[in-house]
């Protein structure tokens, strides 16, 4: 399985493909169909918005792409990796190197500075201290966090700044895919637009950015919009 993780996909091949993907939850006596027979294909190097209301299944889809969850049935392949059947070390390597995740609530480690938060994934992948510090500074500068804020802990940063740090952390190990779940959900519209712009710039570096959102504005900024409803895909549109 670990071989498949490092297996390089061709540039033309879709980065994410799913066939009849299902994720069911058991709740008391009822079965909740969070994702029900979804088949899709996402191209590489684009910003894709998965749009839908609460409970439409967009976060569940994102979790399956990020290997945070296992499908009940169906298949999902990400950058040549069969994500549905990964376990243990393969799963850890996949999360470390293939995907970066950005959350609505940022989820930075509270007792670590911005710089230390960005360095953390690189520490986990075994990069040397000096190299990871240099790269963390570079990434923070790239997302717009100046040096005066590097040493601040999350509580001393604004929401927009925290989300920028979270994006820098997601990019730390240079993953090909960035997954963002409602990245602007806790931000004002102006700050939200800047975050979306920042994510858009990443596609120019070859990253694939997949955003789960219920915001029409965010979806409009994406290259592709996938509309979801009740665990299924309603439609897919190419934006200009």
């Amino acid at each position: 399985m670990s071989n498949s993780i490092v297996q390089a996909a061709t540039d033309n091949a879709p980065i994410v493909t799913a066939e009849k993907l299902c994720r069911y939850y058991q709740s008391a006596d009822t079965t909740v169909k969070a994702l029900d027979g979804v088949s899709l294909s996402f191209p590489r190097g684009r910003m894709i918005a998965i749009k839908g209301s609460s409970g439409s299944g967009k976060t569940t889809l994102l979790n399956l792409i990020g290997a945070f969850d296992k499908p009940s049935s169906g298949s999902i392949t990400v950058d040549g990796v069969d994500v549905a059947h990964m376990h243990g070390g393969s799963e850890v390597k996949y999360r470390l190197n293939k995907v970066g995740f950005v959350f609505q609530s940022y989820y930075l480690i509270p007792n670590m500075t911005a710089l230390e938060n960005v360095m953390l994934p690189m520490e986990l992948s075994g990069l040397g201290a000096k190299k990871r510090e240099a790269r963390a500074r570079e990434l923070l500068e790239k997302v717009g966090i100046d040096k005066t804020r590097e040493a601040r802990k999350p509580a001393k940063l604004s929401g927009g700044e925290q989300q920028r740090v979270a994006i820098a952390r997601a990019l730390a190990n240079d993953p090909p895919i960035l997954l963002a779940d409602e990245p602007t959900g806790n931000l004002d519209s102006k700050t939200g637009r800047r975050i979306v712009d920042l994510l858009g710039t990443l596609t120019r570096e070859g990253k694939t950015v997949i955003i789960a959102t219920h915001s029409t504005e965010v979806a409009a900024a994406a290259d592709i919009t996938v509309d979801m409803l009740d665990g299924g895909i309603q439609g897919q549109s190419q934006n200009n």
């Binding site: 070390g89 007792n111 994934p121 779940d181």
Partner: protein, 438 residues
């Protein structure tokens, strides 16, 4: 940021919670270590008691009680047989009687009710206050001159204040050493001569025993006493066995030499059991306390870790989401637990140093004993007073610095056991479940 630093920062992030865990664990560990130390001390104390009184067997004429003589003696020929018995390492004989003359005045104050070896007031005298007021008599002890340092009072010795103690060359000489207070009461000194049963006996030494009764004695060679008082034999023979485990066997053999109508054979077993009971109880209690305390300490650590892990489940999810392995996250929680345990171990050691002796005292405070070798026993003043005022049943706890190493070892052990909790829990956490949008 290193793993250790991150663990440390996590601990000080919630100082109240961390402090509470450390305090509870420190008390549990301290109590366990205190019990451990008390238990060790009790074991040592039992050994000491056994060593002090465990191997002596006293043989006295039948009917002797306490320091009171029955009036008969053990035949010397029979006593000599005791030396040939298996497992017997020594036999110390003594002959004790009461001074019946009128020349000497007792050094012990009169009107000492119920005094040991006391004599009834002379017939015809008036007893002013109590019907059973006694006047202490002067005791005459005949000891083996070969023993230059006779043991008194179950372990005490005499020290010569002036003159000398008699030697084997004087085994039948008319010489004696007398207690310091008795000499003072009668204006006696080295060179003085006293009429004892019609014979002028020379004082060749004055001793001090440090005890009121011990200094109210005349000590002569055993043969001299037997001759002066026409005694055939000895009044006490103290037989020492080579080991505590052989005491009963030796006592049985002695009873074949002296039947029950002739002599009372008393071993230290009963006395040992009586004295040792409080210590044994303390040993048992402290062992139970130690086990319970360790179980409590383990439960505290397990619950603390479980609580912390559950409170930080989102953090675990974040770590997993950014690519941390279960092992890596578990290691961080393990280090945090270890740090808490080690700090608690150091504090617990301090608690042990402070409270170990106090706890030991609590165990034995109601069991202080006044004891001796056994009635009439002992080597020095055979048949005389053998009461030792003391607290042999008390436990003296010496807490050594080694206890810190034990505490640290226990802390590491507890941390290792407790680490099972986060390892188990972390493996079950799925990021999707704990990182849902708020």
């Amino acid at each position: 940021m290193g793993l250790l630093k991150r663990s440390f920062l996590n601990l000080i992030r919630s100082p109240g919670r961390t402090g509470a865990f450390v305090a509870i664990l420190a008390v549990s560990l301290g109590l366990a270590l205190t019990m451990y130390e008390v238990h060790g001390a009790t074991a040592g104390q039992l050994g000491n008691i056994g060593a002090q009184i465990g191997t002596d067997i006293t043989v006295r004429p039948a009917g002797s009680f306490g320091t009171a003589s029955s009036g008969s003696t053990l035949l010397q020929t029979d006593v000599n047989k005791l030396k040939t018995l298996e497992h017997v390492i020594s036999v110390e004989s003594s002959t004790t009687t009461n001074y019946a003359g009128t020349v000497l005045t007792a050094a012990v104050p009169t009107s000492l009710p119920g005094g040991i070896n006391a004599q009834p007031a002379p017939v015809g005298t008036t007893v002013p206050t109590r019907a059973f007021t006694f006047r202490m008599g002067i005791q005459v002890s005949g000891l083996d001159p070969a023993d230059a340092t006779p043991t008194l009072m179950g372990g005490g010795t005499i020290s010569m204040v002036s003159g000398t103690y008699f030697t084997p060359d004087q085994s039948d000489a008319d010489v004696m050493v007398i207690g310091q207070s008795l000499a003072k009461a009668n204006n006696l000194q080295v060179g003085s001569k006293v009429d004892i049963e019609g014979t002028q006996v020379e004082v060749i030494g004055v001793y001090s025993s440090g005890q009121m009764f011990g200094d109210n004695m005349l000590i002569m060679p055993i043969s001299t006493v037997q001759r002066l008082y026409n005694l055939d034999g000895v009044t006490t023979a103290v037989v020492s066995a080579d080991d505590v485990s052989n005491v009963d066997a030796v006592a049985t053999e002695i009873r074949t030499v002296f039947d029950a109508n002739t002599a009372d054979v008393v071993t230290a077993t009963d006395e040992y059991n009586r004295i040792g009971s409080s210590v044994t109880n303390a040993a048992s209690s402290s062992q139970t306390g130690m086990i319970v305390s360790f179980i409590v300490a383990a439960a505290v650590v397990l619950l603390a870790v479980l609580l912390v892990v559950r409170q930080r489940v989102r953090e675990i999810g974040i770590f997993k989401a950014i690519g941390a392995s279960n092992w890596r996250i578990g290691l961080q929680f393990g280090i945090e637990t270890l740090l808490i345990s080690l700090v608690a171990a150091v504090v617990g050691t301090g608690i042990t140093f402070i409270f170990a002796q106090k706890v030991a005292d609590m165990f034995t405070s109601n069991n202080s004993t006044q004891t001796g070798r056994f009635p009439g026993g002992g080597s020095g003043f055979g048949g005389g007073m053998q009461v030792i005022s003391g607290n042999i049943g008390g436990i003296h706890v010496v807490v050594s610095p080694v206890v810190l190493l034990i505490a640290l070892g226990a802390g590491v052990g507890l941390a290792l056991i407790a680490s099972i909790v986060p390892v188990w829990y972390i493996a079950r956490v799925r990021p999707a479940e704990v990182l849902r949008n708020e």
